[in-house]
């Protein structure tokens, strides 16, 4: 004899008593078997209880689809008990994806017209929860009939069901629009609330409806004013605020109606001011209304004074002890900081205080907002605060904070020395989190400020001596020591403490960097080059340096090895040229003066020219190669960029930044070669500020079914030009649109002669060697004029 199935309560108890997942599953499986059996041949009187148990089990995450048909039967039953569970089941188990759901349409239609309120309520609720577009089509007129029924209970549900219908089938909006005007005269809060929601939905979907409903603005204003002024109704109030849900909904609708419409905005100005000043702010309910008011004020054409009031409300929110309110304030102020900058500035001290928030989502917003508030008059104070924050902030904010400080410093630095100190401090505190170009920026800054050379090299030396782990710092320090080592040893600099440094100490420090396992390959490159430069800066003999250089001639790292070998050669065979080659670097030109927004544009342009430094004196090509190596930080090859090894790619990426307008008009890309799916394109960039320079990025793509391997591209130009080819990103282009090869050509054309370019390609494709030689004839004139 099968054990009797359980009552719902008992089932719940037994499930909760199960000690393991397996035990729970056992209980449930047993019970489901009973339920299935009873669905098959059980007493229809008790069907609702079986379904209830099934729904409970479903809530715990177990499958219950076999109950779907039972929902339909229960809904169709005349008993209210059955309908209640049946409709609940429909909402939980049925959705528009199953065909079965359409079968309840008829039951709903019947129930809607029967006039029994709880039953009508169930039907409307179900329709508005899971009603598909087809169901909505079928039942729209039934719902519309209920809109003006006497019972507010049914009416409010019908109105919200209409909202759902419109969301599913926007074309049905017209059925419901006419009743709105009358419904707006309702006094029942539920009906009123629903009506406002309905009107909102209609307005959001149709500009015609929006225009139509603008005429109810005065009425809405009156309703809200009455709510706010006629105090207290225990039924609808929360913490002394009359029906905050209704207030918020009205405010939302007013926002939509007042947006972009002078007249409507004006009609609500006074009311908004009234709500803003009179709402009780001691609890969340009042603040919710206040917040919605702020949102509305900021979105319509409000008077300037009203906007300031709104921002001040947000500023007060920032001082609220409730974290949620502070969060909401920070988010909103962030959205306003551009459009209402001076109003938000007034709350800067409070914003900065929020940096101390323990909740990361708040401190992050506070950081963003603080950075947005930095300007030339507060940059020193703000940087101090931000630097303090940088020292203690959570790790995932370090990168943003560091870049933010560096950017702000670049835009608003009062003096170069302050700028240098700031960057240095950031590198010391959070060096591992800074952007890749921080090194380049700092070296650029130092190089350009001759008066700072002595100061910089001392400070960097001291910092390096303390800590060689922060790579960007080490790189800049190494570069600086290499360039200005002579100043380091001179001993006198008023701005720093007197520092007595011996030559041997300097060399030892660089060697330490070179040998440290913490140093990245790029860093070691810097250190090696710096050592080499010191061979001409220091007075002692170069035995130690020569030793190091020769040891690294057999280093496993190819880059270091190459350098060491070349430096060795410099010592041995070209010693007479060594001093000239290792001279202090000329300053790479940047764009114009740094002023506000133009600074950003010229900064982008400067980055373009920086990434492609111009050798100021033409040299033999072998020496050109050496000069390339010695260009130090501007050389992109030193920065490992696995996905984008071609500097050309980085340049285009910079051009793609939304805030940087394309300073030169972009020159059209040229397709120069195509054979069996292998295509070669040239793209051209003329960096502003260097009119003789043309950068060509060659891109090789492969849409065929065979890989391209051993790809080599060589180029030749007329005598008056100078051509430099950078190393390509690779020599393979995989089939079917695999990662292209890119390669950068640098062409100097001081005479502005017409550009002619001859290319020779060799590669393997489909197992066959391919060689192609051709001249590129139709280069755009913008490339050389």
């Amino acid at each position: 004899m099968v054990a009797p199935s359980l009552k719902l309560q008992d089932l719940i108890e037994e499930i909760r008593g199960a000690k393991t997942q397996a035990q729970e599953r056992e209980v449930i499986q047993k019970e489901c078997a009973h339920i299935r059996a009873s669905f098959r041949d059980g007493d229809p009187l008790h069907r609702h209880r079986q379904l209830a148990k099934l729904l409970y089990v479903h809530m715990l995450g177990y499958p219950a689809h076999f109950g779907q048909m039972e929902c339909l039967k229960l809904i169709a039953s005349p008993r209210f008990t059955d309908k209640r569970v049946g409709y609940l089941g429909a909402m939980l188990l049925l959705d528009e994806r199953q065909d079965a759901h359409l079968l309840i349409t008829n039951s709903i239609k019947n129930d809607l017209s029967q006039g029994i309120q709880p039953v009508q309520g169930l039907a409307l609720c179900t329709l508005s929860t899971m009603g598909s577009a087809e169901m909505c089509q079928d039942l729209a007129t039934e719902v519309e009939k209920l809109l003006l029924q006497p019972s507010p209970y049914v009416r409010k549900k019908a109105i919200l069901t209409a909202v759902h219908i419109i969301r599913k089938v926007p074309e049905l909006s017209n059925i419901f629009l006419p009743s709105c005007a009358q419904l707006l005269h309702e006094r029942h809060h539920g009906v009123l609330l629903g009506t406002i929601t309905l009107i909102t939905e209609l307005c959001e979907r149709s500009p015609a409806a929006l225009r139509h409903f603008r005429k109810v603005v005065p009425q809405l204003v009156k309703i809200l004013r009455t709510l706010v002024t006629t105090g207290y109704s225990t039924e609808h109030s929360i913490s002394g605020v009359s029906d905050p849900f209704l207030q918020v909904q009205i405010l939302r609708l007013l926002r939509i109606l007042g947006r972009n419409h002078e007249e409507s905005s004006e009609a609500m100005n006074d009311l908004l001011a009234q709500v803003a000043t009179n709402t009780d702010t001691s609890r969340n309910a009042g603040n919710a209304v206040l917040f919605e008011t702020v949102l509305t004020i900021m979105d319509i054409h409000s008077a300037a004074g009203l906007r300031v009031l709104a921002v001040n409300i947000l500023g007060r929110f920032l001082l609220n002890s409730d974290k949620n309110i502070r969060y909401v304030a920070l988010m909103s102020l962030l959205r306003l900081v551009q459009s209402d900058h001076s109003a938000v500035q007034r709350h800067r001290p409070t914003v900065v205080d929020c940096l101390k928030e323990t909740d990361a989502s708040l401190s992050r917003r506070a950081l963003e907002l603080s950075l947005a508030l930095v300007n030339s008059s507060n940059v020193r104070a703000m940087t101090r605060e931000l630097q303090a924050f940088l020292e203690s902030c959570p790790i995932d904010l370090r990168a943003d904070c560091a870049s933010g400080i560096l950017l702000a410093a670049e835009r608003f630095a009062p003096t170069k020395r302050w700028h240098m100190d700031t960057i240095l401090h950031v590198l010391i505190t959070a060096g591992t989190y800074v952007r890749d170009d921080a090194v380049a920026n700092l070296t650029q800054l130092i190089a350009g400020a001759q008066e700072l050379h002595a100061y910089s090299v001392r400070r960097l030396y001291s910092a390096l001596a303390e800590d060689i782990s922060q790579q960007p710092l080490v790189q800049v320090a190494a570069w600086c020591i290499g360039e200005y080592g002579d100043l380091l040893l001179e001993g006198n600099c008023e701005e720093t403490e007197p520092l007595q440094v011996e030559e041997e100490e300097v060399l030892a420090l660089l060697e330490k960097v070179l040998q440290s396992h913490m140093s990245l390959p790029a860093t070691r490159g810097y250190a090696l080059t710096a050592l080499m430069k010191l061979s001409t800066r220091l007075r002692g003999n170069n035995k130690r340096i020569r030793q190091v250089v020769s040891i690294y001639g057999s280093c496993l790292d190819v880059e270091l090895q190459q350098r060491a070998v070349e430096y060795n050669t410099l010592f041995r065979k070209y010693d007479h040229m060594r001093a000239a080659i290792l001279e202090k670097m000329p300053l790479v030109e940047r764009g114009g003066p740094q002023v506000g927004e133009e600074a950003k544009e010229s900064k982008e342009a400067a980055k373009l020219s920086e990434a492609a430094p111009v050798p100021t004196e033409p040299q033999a090509s072998k020496l050109l190669d050496l000069l390339d190596l010695l260009d130090g930080p501007s050389e992109d090859a030193q920065h490992p960029l696995p996905l984008d090894p071609s500097p050309g790619g980085a340049l285009v990426q910079l051009l793609d930044l939304p805030c940087a307008p394309p300073a030169p008009a972009p020159i059209p890309t040229l397709k120069v070669f195509e054979r069996e799916g292998v295509q070669l394109n040239l793209s051209f960039i003329r960096p502003p500020g260097t009119p003789a320079l043309l950068l060509i990025t060659v891109t090789v793509t492969n849409s065929s079914g065979g890989d391209v391997t051993h790809f080599i591209c060589q180029a030749a130009v007329p005598k008056s030009f100078q051509l430099q080819l950078q190393a390509p990103s690779g020599d393979t282009v995989p089939a079917w649109g695999g990662l292209p090869i890119t390669q950068l050509f640098r062409i100097l054309n001081p005479n502005k002669a017409p550009l002619r370019l001859k290319l020779r390609l060799t590669y393997n494709h489909f197992g066959q060697p391919v060689q192609e030689i051709f001249e590129v004839n139709n280069v755009p004139v913008e490339t050389w004029q």
């Binding site: 009797p4 309560q9 719940i12 909760r16 007493d43 008790h46 209880r49 995450g61 008993r79 209210f80 209640r84 569970v85 609940l88 994806r97 709880p118 609720c125 508005s128 929860t129 759902h164 969301r167 539920g190 609330l193 939905e201 959001e204 039924e235 029906d243 905050p244 849900f245 918020v248 909904q249 939509i256 947006r259 969340n284 919710a288 917040f291 949102l295 054409h301 974290k323 949620n324 969060y327 962030l334 306003l336 900081v337 551009q338 459009s339 909740d359 989502s361 950075l371 943003d400 870049s403 702000a408 960029l641 696995p642 996905l643 984008d644 790619g649 793209s683 990025t697 990662l739 292209p740």
Partner: protein, 191 residues
């Protein structure tokens, strides 16, 4: 055709440009995109992550629902006690509040008013339902919710009216059951 992907470790942060997300003071012409329901879904779960009531106001497959609930439960439970009640999650905002052993969690649109969502949760819990109800009387918890929210929107703002509606429905249920019991007097099988 250039490969414009940025190198993985470069940080392309700049001074936050929030202007494009700001309130349009000289706003764009044309209607804003249609709003979805105020509330997308409402979930209740215990501190152990066991799901209770779930109300979905957007159509999703069972698989999607399971995925969302799993992710959300994890996200919310990972929060520390003193953290704020809002989380950004995909293109929605999650508002949650813990009452005794239960987390009440709802999802609203990104631009919506989080504070009023908190009030909705508060009203649902304190106005009508208690923890025991939700566990032992889950149907009732749904019935009460359905008097308070409809189609994802707030339907009734008077606690009194909500409770009255439940009372009336319960009364009707009792009446019909009595009717049937008085007519049908078969052997009672305990189910």
């Amino acid at each position: 055709m250039l490969d414009c992907r940025s190198p993985p470790h470069s940080n392309t942060a700049s001074l936050p440009q929030r202007g494009d997300q700001g309130f349009p003071s000289a706003a764009a012409a044309g209607p804003a995109p249609p709003l979805r329901a105020t509330m997308q879904f409402l979930l209740l779960f215990s501190r152990q992550g066991k799901l209770g009531l779930q109300k979905w106001y957007v159509p999703l497959t069972d698989k999607e629902k399971k995925k969302i609930t799993r992710e959300l439960v994890q996200t919310v439970l990972a929060g520390k006690p003193k953290m704020c009640s809002f989380r950004e999650w995909h293109d929605l905002k999650i508002v949650y509040k813990r009452y005794a052993g239960l987390y009440f969690c709802c999802a609203i649109e990104d631009q919506d008013n989080e504070l009023i969502a908190l009030e909705i949760i508060h009203r649902y819990y304190f106005g009508s339902v208690c923890e025991l109800d939700i566990i032992f009387n889950f149907e009732k918890a749904y019935f009460i919710l359905d008097e308070f929210l409809l189609g994802g929107e707030v339907q009734e703002t008077s606690k009194k009216s909500v409770l009255k509606a439940i009372e009336q429905a319960d009364l009707l249920q009792e009446k019909t059951e009595n009717m049937y019991h008085s007519r049908v007097h078969w052997g009672v099988r305990a189910y």
